[in-house]
Amino acid sequence: MMTAHSSSQDTATAHKAAAAPKSHRTVSEGAVAAIFLAPAIVAVLVLRIWPTGLALWQSFHVGAAGRFGLANYTFLFSDPSFHDALAATLLFSLIVNPFQIACALGLALVLNRDLPAGPLWRTLVLLPVAVPQSVSAIIMGVVFRPDGPANALLATIGLPAQGFLTTPEQALYTIILIVSWIGVGYWTTFLLAGLKEIPAALYEAAVIDGANSWQQFRFITLPQLRRPLTFVLVADTVANFLVFAPVQILTKGGPQGSTNLIMNDIYARGFLSGDMRGAAAETGILVAIVVIIVAIQFRMMTGAKSE
């Protein structure tokens, strides 16, 4: 989530710089643009491109002498812990992305109506985004403790207590609920902004043509929302591949490896086991997976446009 957040800020900075007034002649326009852009570019280079390059470089070196080789990658593909992490991450992604986008879209549609106290609801939905992920994780950890409020709520409606984060069967789904509680409000705002952009005339015309609400949603809302939806789909998918803080704080990958998402596995491999090159290779694989999935998503969305 932080990735999406900061990169959108970067673009905002870039827009501002490009739109700088043209009247000042003392310094050339290009120089001003360069100065304003410099912090963002330096930050991207130093904080993202350089470490990623360094990790990839490390991942292709083996042995004490640091020879060039693929052994870090071949080891990973034979390592049961990596297999389990990959499986957990794919299962997590398959569930969490559609779930979050459906929730975000549903919330955006509801909030787009003229509700009494509308701004209040919008604020409440966005509120979890303003809380640091680590704080949210700790709060939700308390909620889902075996003796916590979630089980108390279940008890009042006559349901048996659940293990939540303490059982391998439920832990991953509990993490999905928690990261969704943290993230959905953020994605909702993009979709809500998209909904506000759709010209009312389109709906009026549709009503005159006798379209029911489902048809309006299917043939006006969805196609008109394609751009924000593409962004949310891509950014949400990437963000969910990079989920780390809630896992590290709440389960550390357990119980029995059930929530050992790939980011946590990379952390444990690099910093707990001290296998930096293995962790670097795993980072390389993660980047490759994310790039491939994002490319497919872009292709699908542009394909849908030309139909």
Binding site: H24, T26, V27, A31, I35, A38, G63, A64, F75, S78, D79, P80, S81, R145, P146, T166, T167, P168, K252, G253, G254, P255, Q256, Y267, A268, G270, F271, L272, S273, G274, D275, M276, G278
Partner: protein, 425 residues
Amino acid sequence: MAKMTRRQIMALSTGLLASPLIARFAHAQEARIGFLSSQKAGAFDAVIAAFEAANPGIKMQAQNVPFDQLNAQIQARLGAGDTSVDVFTVDEPRVPAYAHKGFLSDLTPMRGEIEAAVTPAALVGSSFKDKLWSFPFWTTSQFLFFNNDLLKKAGLPAPDSDPAKRLTWEDLLTNARTAQKAGAKWGFAFDQNDRYYELQPLYESQGFGPGLSGDGLLTPALTSPGWVKTTEWYRDLYASGLSPRGVAYEQMPALFSSGQVAYMVAGVWHARVFRLAKELNFGIAPMPYFAGGKPVTPTGSWTIGVNPKSARQDAAMKFAKFLTLDGNGALLASTIAPQPPVNKVAFEAYLKRESEAGGGNTAAFAKIISHELANTTVSRPRTIGYVVFEEIMNRMYSDIRNGAEAKSSLERTQAALTAAFSRLE
């Protein structure tokens, strides 16, 4: 913003870019020594104050992180060449791995000085491949702490403090169940409930080995019948409800302090917290052993390492020596975090202080520790694979404590360790 000339803009941006460098330079002038440990904030305040008073011009900066994050911090920071950590605590069995990775300054030239100040057993914990890599600092032992009031309520006698008359695990668990029936919330608990450190003696007491074998102790040996049987015994403590599930080890001593546990095997340093707890009437006895086996107790503790990349080696060494080789410094360092110092002078003073501090509750303090350290200790395996071994083992115990099957967990852990050991370079 008013009009700015090109020169003004250049000056401004140069200034902005240079400011961190200037700050760093100013920082370096002060000889500030970073001391990273996993003790609670404030644990070393007294010894730091005494050191700074004796060494004007050196400022200590204590950096405290939770135990679970210490290893990650050391690997990340020292591995990346960070010099803001000059001195750090190193658990004895981690010395080989950190020495192997180049995280520790070679102290072999100071061997004579160190040998003269500390107990002989402590030197082993700081050595690897005939070289000395860290300053011996603390040692550890365990007590069987018991709650007198809960035992009285159940009609149970207080365990004997004589090491020759220590309880067997079989008798202890029978008594613990009786105490639980008579009202104790929990009959028995280990304080470090999922730590290899405290559980290793269970296997060693019966001759089942440390779980590692072979050349350089890099072959996991976790699936023998003895290991499976003993791990099932551990699992059953929690499955049967005798010990509490889902409590983090940091919170375990508080359960005993608040009178919820009848018997607890815990580090000797907890005696301080327990005697400060109001309305807790407790006693100490030696750690139990399995009938037919031999008494075995855990040992080993923190040593003090110096970062070889430290820009202020001299000042860093000076502090490390004050903590370990100076009798007064070593005793001051064992006050708020009262682990037994291995400095010979400080050790005697420590035993006297701790035995007397708790009145009748801790009268046997010196007697038990002295006996255990001389007769029953077993060190954790000394291998370059220990760091990853401990991380993976502790995760396994945590899973088993919370319900995972013993045998399949041991098999999975065996495979994970084999894979991880193949990566040691």
